[in-house]
Symmetry: C2
Subunit: 330 residues, 2 copies
DNA sequence: ACGCGTGCTGCAAGCGATTGCACGATTGAG
DNA sequence: CTCAATCGTGCAATCGCTTGCAGCACGCGT
């Protein structure tokens, strides 16, 4: 292994000079620096992360926790996060909490003195816990807003509201909302915004559901029996299940039921060209979250800033006018 | 922050004694150890990972690379890996390579001196590269076998062979195989085993396909036109797309086409109760891989051992006798 | 009663880097 | 030509922990 002093010897300078040439070039004369750099890469010198961490207190590691990896929704988020981390010279530790507050807490605990900052996607821990944690380490939450903790929120509630408006505009008056898993912070907010957006429509909230194919499939009868003419699903997996069952029953979309989805199918390789959905800027969200964490790490300030990321409405063939428009005044 | 010497002072012993009490209890008298332990947890002492790493050369970190997280297939693998790592007191760094050999190499490089060992799921780098890397660090590959590198292989080729036998037994004589993405090491091996298992059947290999819904959907016509009566899909996402299109065309399973899948749908929340598939021990595979890496870390031996994990055949309703049995002798 | 092994504990030397401080050289001003 | 900034470099301390070695006390055999 090549150490700083080896490079120093090769370049005919002291170890401190090498250290500075590598990390604070402006302190060193052009000539020396060039010589040092040449020697360093001739010998293939690499920082010893632990040694550096010991003295600087910085590890160069960032943690990113997600409730699950089974939902491919998180894939592009992590991709974006990893990209941002890499650009800043950081390494990302991805950790899975299984949506368990206990595991999440344990994770915080184990990782707290191993990383410089923490990003938590959809954390399930109590707010007080998160706030406390944020006081000890730079922390940014994604898709959850907690007093005293910086956050990045993908504005799917707004998107769901717009989906509602879109459906109402087509003449729908009874819309089912297939809710997500218990513990989702966004889910009730989506429902609320939906109701606010279309006060004239009856909203049938179903769920909570685990985001699974079968759960979606099982809702078809309920939805139809209730007389809903449109469905907004929390998640693409639910929607797929519902669609499959619908097709098997010989029903079609949007004639028999309009379908819309509150997340983006493409992440999972499940993109269906004809489904009305929300395009969520997932990679961007991951990137922003990490960049935000890094800014906290750099400034040591606790600014409690919040970012809201807009979503895009993709209006496509799975939504249309309901078969029978309600007669007014009958 | 609580340091070793603080605990030492509190317990009335030297720092070395505390260190030993914590990591080599057998060197310390029962009484002293108890006193130290009490002091340590009263003060809330935690190891300083960097300091420890600096002197021991062990970081307590393991890397686990996957080609993508968009395919939920890797979710349970990572879950199993994380569990095994945690049990051994290690932290797992999950890294995504995007199926790019270059990114993979870069990752190896960046992580090599940050971690104690490396697990690579479905690595895409050239064999020589992997072998070289294995010489510098404990490395175990999952689902890829390379000379000189320890590996864990989920025996899906065998499973696909059995799927073939199952289909042939039902009377199928022409079977389509929907291949996976370019670069998959297992894919050609599955195809080969399929051919070996059912020498009397015509096998129509299609692909390579990205494991996406739409790609699956687009194959339906080809499969039917070619006169295939059964399909084996590389991946559940492909199969779902195919099934969706099939249903839309008013065709049904298994009457019009028998369907089978070479991986497990349940990981993605896409479990469909009636699809014949292979159950792959994904979590187990992740766990084994990590345990194997850890054994290399511990022993410093390079044993070049290989593990083969059997898969389970789930025979269900999506496979049945073909509509018209081929007439023998016209 | 003496010596020696055995079992615990402390001392001090690192691990490899960063960084405050001091110092020598160079340069510009007076 | 002298003195004082300024710039670049080296010395040495330090980060928190582990570990080889030495020392001390005790117990045992003879």
């Amino acid at each position: 292994m090549v150490r700083l002093k080896d490079v120093a010897q090769a370049a005919g300078v002291s170890a401190s000079t090498v250290s500075r040439a590598l990390s604070n070039p402006e302190l060193i004369s052009e000539a020396t620096r060039a010589r040092v750099l040449a020697a360093a890469d001739r010998l293939g010198y690499r920082h010893h992360p632990a040694a550096r961490a010991l003295v600087t207190g910085r590890t160069g590691l960032l943690a990113f926790s997600v409730p699950t990896l089974a939902n491919p929704f998180f894939a592009p988020i992590i991709a974006g996060a990893q990209e941002a981390a890499e650009e800043a010279g950081y390494e990302l530790i991805v950790a899975v909490t299984d949506s368990s507050p206990e595991r999440e807490t344990a994770l915080f605990d184990r990782l707290a003195d191993r990383v410089d900052g923490f990003a938590a996607a959809g954390p399930r821990s109590p707010a007080s816990q998160l706030a406390r944690f944020a006081r000890s380490l730079p922390l940014v939450t994604l898709n959850r807003r907690v007093r005293g903790v910086d956050s990045v929120i993908i504005d799917t509630p707004d998107g769901v509201g717009r989906l509602g408006t879109h459906l109402a505009g087509l003449g729908h008056r009874k819309i089912a909302y297939l809710g997500g898993p218990t513990g989702s912070w966004l889910d009730p907010r989506r429902l609320r915004r939906l109701r606010e957006a279309v006060p004239d429509c009856a909203i049938l909230p179903l769920g909570p559901f685990p985001p699974e194919f079968e759960a979606g499939a099982r809702t078809v009868e309920t939805v139809l029996d209730a007389g809903c003419t449109a469905v907004i699903a929390y998640n693409s997996t639910l929607l797929l299940g519902l669609l499959h069952r619908l097709t098997m029953l010989g029903l079609s979309t949007p004639e028999d039921l309009s379908l819309a989805c509150a997340d983006d199918l493409s992440a999972a390789g499940l993109a269906m060209p004809d489904v009305t959905a929300l395009h969520v800027p997932a990679a961007e969200a991951g990137r922003r979250t990490v960049e935000h964490v890094l800014s906290l790490v750099a400034s040591e300030s606790r600014s409690a800033a919040h970012q809201l990321l807009p979503v895009e409405l993709l209006t496509r063939a799975s939504t249309g006018r309901p078969r029978e428009l309600p007669m007014s005044g009958g």
